[in-house]
């Protein structure tokens, strides 16, 4: 089935059809749809599921191998290995379908932004090399990353004295948690130089000419620091409103770490 109505959503292109959703990267290279600087099929899948959840109740999800099921699950969706109500089907290019019958959707719309080929190839190469890297100092282990993933992606906060605390504190681990809205207001920001980013970003930061971090006021008094999504040209300003979307953060020892990043809304 071909979708005709496509809209920008979470920095991707979302096409709604009666059968499900088609999510496409907004970037094109020589006629092919390619992933953005810090995106992949897992990020597209979350975007599609968020849109689908606005339209209907999602009971179970079945992922393709190109999607990190742990991330989908941590985001709050019920992932199963077989007989899922909805199936995520990754396309060969930077797009995917989420349908009940595993069909692949397409769109007649010829939308997208042309990406510089040199930049694209350098970024892909950097990601590949980064994934093979090992830490020589500061380190977020796979165990630590996974234990905080749900809180990281769902912004699960604890409530104490009328104020939300995010991320929560272990001594309050029995407290109820509340998912905060994935929106914030910029309280401060900085852009590091290519050499000023943490080592985990050392290969990509020079290609991006540095990276931007925003310090956000979240819902209910909670605050948090986030990178800008896609590290696009959008200028952060104190007081501006942003939405938080899922993107790759960095790769190490074969594991991509995902998290929320800010997009000017």
């Amino acid at each position: 089935m071909a979708a005709n109505e496509c809209i920008p959503f979470h920095g991707h292109i979302l096409c709604l059809t009666p059968s499900g959703v088609l999510v496409r990267s907004r970037f094109i290279l020589d006629g092919d749809r390619v992933h953005g600087p810090d995106s992949d099929h897992t990020c597209l899948a979350i975007t599609g599921l968020c849109a689908l959840a606005d339209e209907c109740e999602i009971t179970t999800i079945q992922c393709s191998d190109d999607v990190d099921a742990r991330v989908i699950s941590a985001y709050g969706f019920n992932v199963v290995t077989q007989n899922g109500e909805w199936k995520i089907v990754a396309h060969k290019d930077a797009s995917l379908s989420i349908t009940r019958d595993s069909s692949m959707l397409n769109s007649l719309a010829d939308d997208g932004e042309e990406m510089d080929s040199t930049f694209y190839l350098q970024m892909r190469s950097a990601w590949d090399e980064e994934l093979r890297s090992v830490s020589q100092g500061a380190y977020v282990s796979e165990q630590q990353y996974l234990s905080g993933l749900e809180s990281r992606l769902r912004l699960l906060a604890q409530k104490e004295g009328g104020k939300y605390i995010w991320p929560g504190r272990e001594n309050n681990s029995q407290h109820a948690t509340f998912p905060l809205k994935r929106k914030g207001i910029v309280e401060s920001w900085t852009r590091t130089s290519a050499a000023g980013s943490p080592s985990e970003f050392a290969l990509r930061s020079p290609l991006l000419d540095g990276m931007t971090t925003v310090l956000l006021a979240l819902e209910g008094g909670a605050k948090g620091a986030f990178l800008l999504a896609d590290d696009e040209d959008a200028v952060a300003e104190i007081g501006s409103h942003v939405e938080l979307v899922i993107r790759r953060i960095y790769g190490q020892e074969g594991l991509i770490r995902y998290g929320l990043k800010a997009r000017c809304s």
Binding site: S135, Q136, G137, A138, Y139, V140, Q144, Y145, G148, I165, P167, E187, S188, W189, T190, R191, T192, S193, A195, G196, S197, P198, S199, E200, F201, A202, M211, T212, T213, L215, K223, G224, A225, F226, L227, I238, I249, Y250, R257, G259
Partner: protein
């Protein structure tokens, strides 16, 4: 309860040094021992508390045992104290408490860091390890970036801009120029400091301290011992320490360091002094904005007027009511993480004994304050030292 004095102090030069951890510590300890007026053998030292972050890993475990092995202090009770950049400020406090408790009469506090023997790639893995690794590092933050967030917010909330930070850099480089142990002995003009390479917007290279090698060592003694061994002991009049949330986003404010305020309050209270009584302060200016905030947190400037304080040159040596960072501070003297806190105390000790280079000797100094911050403000130790107790 017993009073505690510093009877000896020494340090290496800070910089990109050829010596190893062991060599640097041996030099600092020997200088400290040699500075005791009436002589002291290392065998009389009963305990040692040595601050280090073990940056780069030359000797991560049992660092203190290795250090004392190379300074004639074998066999005594030793430990490494780690609180990021405030490691040796806390080591000093622990040494002071050891004597206060009556457990020992002569105790060493020191600090050490070797930072410049790493490859650039490995160094980047270690820089920023004292922030919240899980939540700040994954947001692309190292300490220049974290302090940049604080600076931008400070400019937003108060009547201040980057020029105020430039004044801090110019002052501290001018002070450090005369300091023989300083890492960067180079004066900089306002225009040059204002146009530095951008490290983390709005902070430029001239807003950032260097990564330095270095070691520092002081010898503390109980009053009855201090008066015998020293003709000019420097007294510990107040000690305060505190902490705050590790991650900046968990803190109540981004434009003040509550750990500094809490530690200073305790130290002032113990000393029976107020900010107006301090003649000289070595404050933790890892970044220029940190000095602006410290001047407020320690009570030298009103809230929101730290920028104005710098703009008006109120911390310049012998030009106002107080001198801020006569050593050049971390900005010019250098910042070997674990050594910095005790290094500040070495400077205060020498200033109080009129032993620094004449051109940067603060006149009529009676009370000094040393302010040592860990990370972006998760820990802080403040000590007040004076000629008289």
């Amino acid at each position: 309860m017993v009073d505690v004095a510093i009877i000896g102090a020494g340090q290496t030069r800070y910089g990109d040094l050829p010596s190893t951890l062991k060599g640097m510590w041996a030099e600092a300890a020997q200088k400290a021992i040699a500075s005791v007026d009436n002589g002291l053998g290392p065998s009389l030292i009963e305990e040692a508390h040595i601050g280090s972050t073990a940056f780069g890993g030359e000797q991560i475990g049992n660092t203190a045992a290795l250090m004392t092995e190379h300074s004639g202090m074998e066999g005594i009770s030793v430990r490494r104290v780690e609180n990021a950049c405030a490691s040796s400020g806390f080591a000093f406090r622990d040494a002071w408490m050891t004597i206060k408790s009556g457990e020992a009469d002569i105790v060493v506090a020191g600090g050490i860091e070797k930072m410049n023997d790493l490859t650039p790639q490995r160094k980047r893995f270690w820089l920023g390890v004292s922030g919240d690794t899980e939540w700040e590092r994954l947001a692309g933050l190292t300490f220049p970036a974290t302090y940049a967030l604080m600076a931008r917010r400070y400019f937003h909330e108060f009547d201040s801009n980057h020029d105020d930070l430039v004044h801090v850099a110019v002052k501290n480089h001018a002070h450090g120029f005369a300091n023989e142990v300083a890492h960067i002995r180079k004066e900089v003009s306002f225009d040059k400091a204002a146009s530095g390479f951008m490290v983390a917007d709005p902070l430029t290279l001239y807003d950032c301290c260097p990564t330095s090698d270095g070691a520092s060592c002081v010898i503390l003694a109980a009053d009855h011992v201090a008066r015998k061994l020293s003709d000019t002991p420097v007294w510990v009049k107040g000690s305060g320490a505190a902490s705050d949330y590790l991650a900046l986003h968990d803190r109540e404010s981004f434009t003040q360091v509550l750990a500094s305020q809490r530690a200073a309050k305790k130290a002032y209270s113990m000393a029976g002094l107020a900010a107006k009584d301090i003649d000289l302060a070595e404050v933790h200016d890892c970044f220029t904005i940190a000095e602006v905030m410290a001047c407020e947190d320690l009570g030298f400037a009103k809230r929101g007027e730290g920028g104005l304080f710098a703009r008006e040159g109120r911390g310049i040596i012998n030009q106002g009511e107080i001198t801020i960072n006569p050593s050049g501070g971390l900005k010019s003297k250098g910042h070997p993480l674990g050594s910095t806190g005790v290094g500040q105390i070495v400077e205060a000790f020498k200033q109080l004994r009129d032993e620094v280079e004449p051109s940067r000797q603060v006149r009529d100094v009676e009370n000094t304050l040393c302010h040592n911050v860990g990370g972006s403000g998760a820990t802080c130790a403040v000590h007040i030292l004076g000629r008289e107790i």
